[in-house]
């Protein structure tokens, strides 16, 4: 019975999209750190300290839980250990790529990983700026098809 609640909460959270990249859920993004049952609590972690999406995510989670009659479930923020892009799931990485954002490499492959253009698949790409449209992304450009694209920073 007890694990049923946890599974139910996880299933609800898996449908809560990230407000800035709506194709990926907050579970895929690794923002949901833990779901405990006693007391029932969802622990979320911010990606970047100043990320404005953090507030929106909190209220989206609240809304999703409330509409599933789970108003008694608390939401807490946990900072440690700090969020890392290694927590983005495999399916999350694929969804990012399909959406046009180059996914981050995992920490152990970061050094040799080539950045693939999400538009044409070429690896002949270059960084334009380490800071992009949101704190979690850098601005890149493909030398083959000339398209600019966002790349999720390895963090």
């Amino acid at each position: 019975m007890i694990t049923v609640l946890r599974d139910r909460i996880m299933k609800i959270l898996a449908d809560v999209p990230d407000p800035e990249i709506p194709v990926i859920s907050i579970v895929d993004l690794g923002i949901v750190r833990e779901v405990t049952e006693d007391p029932p609590t969802v622990f979320i972690t911010p990606t970047y300290t100043g990320c404005p999406a953090t507030q929106v995510i909190k209220s989206s989670v609240r809304e999703a839980l409330d509409s599933a009659a789970l108003s008694h479930v608390e939401i807490k923020t946990s900072l440690s250990p700090p969020w890392t892009t290694d927590w983005i799931s495999e399916s999350g990485r694929k969804k990012l790529h399909d959406y046009g954002i180059a996914p981050p490499p995992t920490r152990d492959t970061a050094a040799q990983a080539a950045v693939t253009c999400p538009q044409c698949g070429s690896t002949d790409t270059q960084e334009i700026s380490r800071f992009g449209s949101t704190p979690c992304k850098a601005l890149w450009q493909c030398r083959s098809c000339s398209e600019p694209f966002d790349r999720f920073k390895c963090h």
Partner: protein, 252 residues
Amino acid sequence: MDREAALFEYLVRLGDDSLILSQQLSGWCGHAPTLEVDLSVANIALDLLGQATLLLDYAGEVEGKQRDADKLAFGRDALKFRNCLLVEQPNGDFAQTVARQFIFSTWQKLLYESLIQSSDSKLAGIAAKSLKEITYHADWAAEWVVRLGDGTDESRERMTNGLDWMWRFVGELFETDEIDSTLDKLGIAGTKESLRADFDAALKATLDAASLPLEPLPTPIFGGRIGHHSEHLGHILSEMQFLPRAYPGATW
């Protein structure tokens, strides 16, 4: 001095550093030399604002007088601010902003690296979280020091002038007073003097790469940590605090 009083002061100092620098950097939004620089500076400002929120919320918690980050940011006057003088210096031209950022982020990176070891787990958590972002800021600023210093005659002159403006405020970053020594004894935060050698080495490495000379630093100016600020802070606060002061308790 007891633990709580020292920790509160320390957190306010760190929080105010990030808050005031964030406010200053935000002044570039829409005015930076290129779109990429505009985005970079806005991102750095946002990271610093996030740090300030975490630090000042925690300071309010330690103080236990129902003050949160907003109350501390918008409800204090200049004399109660504890930021270092460096961060309240004017943006000037882009090179002056880069100079301020370079000195601050280089110092902040070393400081937060040491705070990860803090015996206060919450401060250690904030430091670890922020450090990932600060590393980007320090790299960004150092790259610009090299690019401007090693660029044209004009960019070199501007970079030199920008650094000349800021050098006076380096000494304050390494000041140690009763608050620092109290927290040092408790294992919460080491004294800043211990960071000096690494800071000097980082400074030299970047200035060498920029082929800029590193002269002996001028006599430092102190005062920010006890609320003795330059004339710039009042102007910053009048803009930053306008709305909550004109409409107390406003929400949207």
